[in-house]
Symmetry: C2
């Protein structure tokens, strides 16, 4: 069975990507990152998805991205609500986040001899993050194949971003076909301690709209 | 004063790179990584170099690369001595190491608004590591400029690898001109607890040969 490393945040996108990778027939090696207090709810969701979809292994890597500052997701800056942005790239953007995540995935893939890394970026219901675009993913793949023993000596590594051309609604429809239990997933940037979603941050707004457009009942527990 | 992030291992190459960046007129932000027990001696050297050359800030990032395995530098596998290799890429290669290091540097550079990252890779007295080649550095730079807010909206980031065409002897001569105190640096893959160098690992062999060819006295304390 071919191995694939899957970046798993515990949200809709990465959970759907995991189901797609399993559907392709890969043995799944999940990698999640703990990089701020805000995300403990997301990590619990990632663990539930791992149990539900079935992974060969799941690693949680602890990163200290907060010490760099630069994002409202890793500092005490307030999370924008109701689409209230003053910049093209929102404050929830974390500097070089996907680059750091993919680099850990690359290290693990090389050791596992996995030739696929799956990442749930999407350029449609695009969050304005530069590291979610197709050009970025292609450039990362080129770099990765120059960086590693395998890329030099043998088989090429591929970064799979199967959601890149899908809208949130299309992602939810695809995941629903594949049996993803979205009640296990989490999207909110600003959840309560009990894990309820705020309903008004960018991530909640995309999520609500996605379920609505997909015609799939939204299983999310919102505050109100 | 323009800022530059400098990847600093505490060895000859990165210490020379720091001196070059300072000579170019940059304000230096040093970044070192703690990724295995083996390297505590190197980190002590990095701190000494920071003090000697003068940095605005120095960060040590703790990484758990050992959990991935795959390298004799992060596992209990024996370090090759006297050039005894059975593979083209030696066992001391750490999967995706420079990619992970550069990715952290990229995050910090973005927050600092630094447009230069200095790295002491060299393709001449080439250690056989894929992530020390010029093609790799160029591909990383291309990817980095697609990954970040700055790369998209503003000024381009440059990865500076000023040693890439220099031999170890040329590096030592250049650093000596710039006043680098090489007695503070450390190269050995397999030092004693007291910090003495083994004298026979690849890194010691390159170091000895470098000083010899440069005609500069070797200040290293070897076991014998």
């Amino acid at each position: 069975m071919e191995k694939a490393v899957v970046l798993l945040s515990g949200g809709i996108d990465s959970s759907t990507v995991a189901a797609i990778a399993r559907d392709y027939g890969y043995e799944l090696y999940g990698m999640s990152f703990s990089y701020s207090q805000n995300h403990s709810v997301e990590l619990e969701s990632a663990k539930k998805i791992v149990g539900d979809i079935g992974f060969a292994e799941h690693r949680i890597i602890h990163l200290d991205l907060a010490s760099f500052g630069g994002s409202s997701l890793t500092t005490s800056a307030s999370i924008p609500k109701n689409g209230d942005h003053t910049m093209e790239i929102p404050s929830t953007y974390v500097p070089a986040r996907n680059t750091i995540f993919l680099s850990y995935a690359l290290a693990w893939a090389e050791v596992l001899r996995a030739y696929r890394i799956f990442i749930g970026v999407t350029a449609v219901d695009y969050s304005g993050y530069p590291d979610c675009r197709s050009d970025y993913i292609s450039a990362y793949e080129t770099m990765a194949n120059l960086a590693t023993r395998e890329g030099v000596e043998g088989r090429k590594l591929k970064i799979e971003a199967p959601l890149i051309t899908l809208s949130k609604a299309e992602i939810i429809r695809r995941g629903t076909e594949l049996g993803v239990d979205y009640s296990l997933t989490h999207s909110c940037y600003d959840p309560t301690i009990e894990g309820l979603s705020c309903g008004f941050c960018d991530s909640c707004l995309h999520r609500k709209k996605g379920f609505e457009e997909a015609g799939v009942p939204d299983p999310t527990r919102y505050i109100s």
